[in-house]
């Protein structure tokens, strides 16, 4: 059952566990190679490989002569990173707030049941929230959650913690699909987002997997005039250095 893990992988898991449990905070010092050699009875090359791969994967940063340190989560991947809307707003220096419109148990209808791989009519949690930045609504989050995945979903205070943050806490997600499209939203969403007539809406549909099954599905509606998705891409094998001067492309939209 338990596939024999390579020792470098055990070491990686050991460090990742310390990071994701919060025992090691960003910029904290990670055990050095030699410390791992003593503590875990491995050779230095094995410890080196573990730490080197964690570096490639963005978990830690290494400085020759000083040591290895937990990297700041925010600096990881800017590309389609599935960060919560709250972090996104905070990163811009804005003030995030959210309002819960609906938080209920309901029967999964056709499309939702299909997306979550449950029988028609099964119980799923339904969350509907409006997120705002400095008071202006910026996202309507229409989310369905597998009830068996997060049984405490109805008791959560989602004014305080975003569903995304809560769900990530229940279990780390492993895979996500995302579809982005533009549409003209219906009047309910239009009203929630305080949108003008003739304004378009950027819709992100996101389904998240954990432990091999889909656990949550969300439609995220954003007002076209106040929201955009940014991405940054480098082909495999090239350095990840961002261009020194990144012009704000937003100014270029017509």
């Amino acid at each position: 059952m338990t596939a024999a893990k390579p020792r470098y992988q055990e070491l990686k898991d050991y460090i990742i566990e310390k990071i994701s449990s919060g025992e090691l905070q960003p910029s904290d010092r990670v055990p050095s190679e030699n410390e791992l050699v003593e503590a875990k009875s491995v050779s230095r090359m094995t410890a080196n490989r573990a730490l080197r791969e964690l570096t490639d994967e963005g978990y830690v940063e290494r400085v020759a002569g000083r040591g290895t340190f937990v990297s700041d989560y925010r600096s990881r991947s800017d590309l389609l990173e599935l960060k919560s809307i709250a972090d996104e707003v905070a990163a811009r220096g804005g003030r995030h707030s959210s309002r819960v419109v609906r938080q209920s148990l309901q029967h999964a209808r056709g499309e939702i049941a299909k997306a979550l791989h449950v029988e028609q009519g099964s119980d799923v949690f339904h969350l509907l929230l409006v997120h705002s930045e400095d008071g202006a609504p910026i996202q309507v989050e229409d989310r369905y959650v597998l009830s068996s995945f997060a049984p405490g979903c109805l008791e959560q205070d989602f004014d305080r913690i975003t569903p995304s943050a809560y769900l990530t806490g229940v279990a780390p997600f492993q895979e996500a699909e995302q579809v982005v499209r533009a549409s003209i939203p219906n009047s309910a969403i239009r009203r929630q987002l305080e949108m003008n007539d003739g304004e378009a809406c950027l819709v992100v549909m996101r389904r998240t997997w954990s432990d091999g099954r889909p656990v949550t599905f969300a439609r995220l509606h954003h007002p076209g005039s106040r929201y955009e998705l940014t991405g940054y891409y480098t082909p495999p094998g090239t350095s990840r250095t961002a261009p020194a001067d990144v012009v704000q492309l937003e100014n270029l939209s017509q």
Copy 2:
């Protein structure tokens, strides 16, 4: 000047060169670790590291007992991969066609000059194309190209080869920024895309860098009802196995 490269990096460059020059085609066999040991006078561990990193970066695939093989480019990254619209259409089994609306040299106005890092009024190429899938317009490509980057831009027949494919041939791009937003397009674009009133438009603004400078900037307009961007995400350190059953999320849009 020439920073002393690590030997594993020299090996990687050596293999990458063989791949990008076409000497090694997808699914071709790459020299084994032991062959590299002999040919390049390195230790097997060094050859192993080079090939292992090329695996992580998607260049090659390795099978214990068989060997190392150049991986098929198309299987690399499905996430925000900057594939050309023609490939995208072809992958769906559709028939791609395009019509050149404008192909001219013109003076860079404010925003364009800023995006391409050139003086106001400098000459840049301007391309305007309409791409169609099975006869239905699916993208308006409004592109500006640094004239010094691709001097032959006006002579190209862009009905035959897409600007994206042509430019990639001139020099491989190295970095790209991309901003996605929803908007209601102006009437000209509306007409080109044969869009209904009240239909939204997904706009991708993409700036591509080569050799440290921006070389082309494009606005790609897509009709909201006929186009979507898909993405797939796995956090660092987890396997890249796609969920076995990927429901078409498109059906879920409202």
